[in-house]
Amino acid sequence: MGRSTFTAFYRSFTRHPLYALLNLLGLSFGIAVFIALSLLYRFETGYESWSSARQDTYAIGGQYFFPGMPNDVFIGSMGGLLDEMKIAYPHLEGTRDWGNAVTVHKGAEVYGEQIELVDGNFLSFFNIPLRHGDAKTALASPDSVVISEEKARKYFGTVDVLGRAITLSDEEGRKNYVVSAVMRDLPKNTDMKLDFMRLLTKQRMSEEANWHKWGSIQLVTYFKFADPAQAAALQKQFPAFIDRQVGDRFGDDIKGSKIMALHLVPLADAHLIDPKQKAAIVSLGLVGVVALVLALINYVNLATARAGLRAREVAVRKTLGAQPGALRLQFLGEAALTLLLAFLIGLSLVELSLPVINAVGGLNLKLDYVSEGAWVAGVLAVVMAAGLVAALYPAFALSAFKPAQVLASSRTPAGGRAGVRLREVLVIMQFATVVVAFVLMLGFMRQIDHMQKADLGFTREGLLIVNSTRYTAISEAQREAYVAAVRALPNVKRASIGNAIPGDQSSTSNSNIVRPGQTDSATGSPTVNWSVVGPDYFQLLGTKLVAGRLFNARYGGDQMWRTDAESREEGRVTNVIISRLTVKRMDYASPQAAIGQIARFANRQVRIVGVVEDMRFYHPTDAIQAKLYLFDAKPNNNPVAFVRYEGVSEPQMRAQLQQVWRRIAPDVPFEGVSATANLDKYYKPERDRSNLFSIGAGIAALIGCIGLYGMAAFNTSRRVREIGLRKVLGASRGKVVGLLIGQFLRPVVVASLLAIPLAWLALRHWLSQFDDAIAISPWFFVGAVAGALLIALGTVGGLALVSASVEPGKALRHE
């Protein structure tokens, strides 16, 4: 890169500041979006990068094939899978992580935390970074606990806590543990919540009833393979392994592999195992690429437009003996300097806006130049490479000018008709992208608003869920006492317990239900998701009764079995309530027709006494489940408490509930959450991504406007004489403004026409993932096109007005 390159680069700012700024700003914004979204993409695809074992580790994924139920692959397995697999494949290296609720006692205070029960090799398996302690011996004793730096600070005020005691209560009771290691805090992009860890003992495994129950899910099992081919080979053997291990446990003549599958999911892919989530992250990554492409289009556009202004310089240089190759190098050098400066500005913009991006996107992104210097250099390399490829066209176009022709002409060349066409096509591409982005943005916002306000089949406002009643330390008497005390609070309308929880799938199960005369086959009959509810549950939620009646403790048949033996008593028929969708799945003509009908549910006799409206408890992309409700006057299967309140704010209500809780169960932490907050975890990622997308779309529009303005400014500067001539011939200022604006907006109109079908397809595709999706409104398109036109008009309107106001005499003398 010679001195001429630096001089030309510097002079472009001092002599043509508008052009240089437009060029630089467009590039900088595009690069900033590219960097920010690359950062996001890297964050989301870099889960568990902290572990050196990431590359070789696989998590066990499960998959069920029940009719009418989702069959997505999820991470998790039954507890005893590792034991069974090690018998069949003794060479396997594996480990387990079983997350459990734990109460930490600190003086009289209690805190709810999560503890991981892990195999003894867990620390060395993942090469977990320890601040204090030895990975080999830290989990040797069942009385030891490994604690994170963060939790050490929280409970001890320091991280130097090796050998100190901490009191924990969990399923194994209240006990003192000795801190045997302190692990370093993991980065935010991890799904492994390793705050407390202790040994998963053989005794604990033997106490767990479902430890070897195929089809149950308790924990996460990991395996390590030196070679991916070994994992692939094992994967192939899974169906036969499942068939062997399951035997006839799923029913006579039902092969285990017909009901479920196991998958070895590379740890690197585990976080984005849900294809919808993965698609969302890939889409955001693509928005970053599109922003960069838009910015480069701008660059090409402005550079080729300006090429005409530099034609005389090129001609002079060529006349003085410059080789075309040397000129191309000079122009590429100028482009490289512009890109480098734009990259630095883009990087600064990202640094400045990261707090905002993190806030609106619900993220935790950061730029660390020391530990991630290679990544920043990689992004710079991508930007430079893409930019220089884009700069090839103007460099070649410029260096191809013929000196004799240029020097003979009094006008500066504009790159010919082909050049003008190309620039118009590029502007059309930019604005088409902007219109598509606007349509998607409007669609996203509308759908998210719909999700947050849609009728879910129950009233989500004024509903609090108290999770603390789930703790095993809580006795049935305490639960009853708590609910009774809560009912007595002045602002509480109703209180109940149960395990059909909006926003929480952790304590529901699936079983099949069979009408008399149907084949009792796990794969052939409808599967329902069932929950146990207490008195007043439906009234409390505000669930609509469709047919029959709701549960009532006065009806003896409503009470579900308390023991397995009880459930199978001769002649026992338990009353159940089903949802509207279950009526359909069971093929009843109407909800009314289902009332009083007998069916076999999980091999027990049940009678349908009521049909309630479907309720949407889970992710908006998940289909509503066919439900069956069992009634228990005193549910004891880890139920939560539901509280319907009015006339008081949520925090005030929660404070009252906490106060009552402390009185009844001071040793167990209080955990209360509103139904809206519980559901919000499903909406939040969609909302966050929509926010990020909107920012990206907004910046794309800004880049498009910069490009349009640059083009318009260039075209008007070339047409000053023409404008003067038109005015001499009698055109009014209004007419000239109209003419110019019409011409400037033409590419925007063409872009809109092109964008509408593309935007429709893209929006339809995105909405198709939602079970309850909005209809695509024509107003999205009208709004997007109107928005793009208004922005374009605002961009070029002033320019047209100024250009049309030039005195004709002056305009005619313009060169």
Partner: protein, 226 residues
């Protein structure tokens, strides 16, 4: 030094074929100051561009010190221009974004194998045309006469064998035109070979030879006694 043998230049478009130069044969010796005259559109500039190798003859031979330039590729012609030629244009053709110093430097930038200080050469060229005090200015800050003197400095800074001047006084008033002609005459007296296209008979009279062109053909070549 220069020998054109039966040089013709045709311009073809889809419908029209224009003959800009027709069968021109011409010899120019080292140290000559040749003025080319003729009415507008007669082919003067085409002849000058051909001599300057920024236009190629359609047929015929162009020998420069015995080398047939018509046979050279584009890169060879560029090298030839950098090494042997200096250009002066009617509209100066200074690069707007470069200072006068940098514009003059362009005359050396592409010249390979040149020895000696670049700065000294530029300063010397500026001194010769009296523009040194304007070195840090941009072209638009100078008068037409000053711009043309800067352009002459650019043409002579590399001490070329041949200076080609296309109506160098065409955009200047009488006084500035006379100054430019004084400089050109001085350069010729110092040994430079100059070929100049002009419309001005008085300026043409200051050359050592006058060539008249009409409709692309050479109609007269007259040696002049100064």
């Amino acid at each position: 030094m220069i020998e054109l043998k039966h040089v013709s230049r045709l311009y073809r478009s889809d419908e029209i074929e224009t003959t800009a130069l027709h069968d021109i044969s011409l010899t120019i010796r080292r140290g000559e100051f040749v003025a080319i005259m003729g009415p507008s559109g007669c082919g003067k500039s085409t002849l000058l561009n051909t001599l300057g190798t920024i236009d190629r003859p359609t047929s015929g031979q162009y020998l420069f010190d015995g080398t047939d330039l018509a046979q050279l590729p584009e890169t060879g012609l560029a090298k030839h221009r950098a090494k042997h030629l200096g250009f002066i244009f009617q509209s100066f053709n200074l690069v707007d974004d470069l200072t006068i110093y940098e514009n003059i430097e362009l005359g050396l930038l592409y010249r390979e194998g040149r020895k000696g200080s670049r700065r000294q050469a530029i300063e010397s060229a500026m001194d010769r045309v009296g523009i040194a005090h304007r070195a840090r200015h941009f072209p638009h800050q100078l008068s037409g006469g000053q711009q043309q003197r800067a352009a002459i400095a650019r043409a002579i800074v590399g001490e070329p064998d041949l200076i080609l001047a296309d109506e160098p006084t065409g955009n200047l008033d009488t006084e500035n035109g006379a100054q430019v002609m004084d400089i050109l005459r001085g350069l010729n007296a110092a040994g430079a070979t100059i070929i100049m296209v002009t419309h001005s008979p008085s300026h043409a009279d200051q050359a050592t030879r006058r060539i008249d062109i009409l409709d692309g053909q050479l109609v007269a070549s007259v040696a002049q006694v100064l």
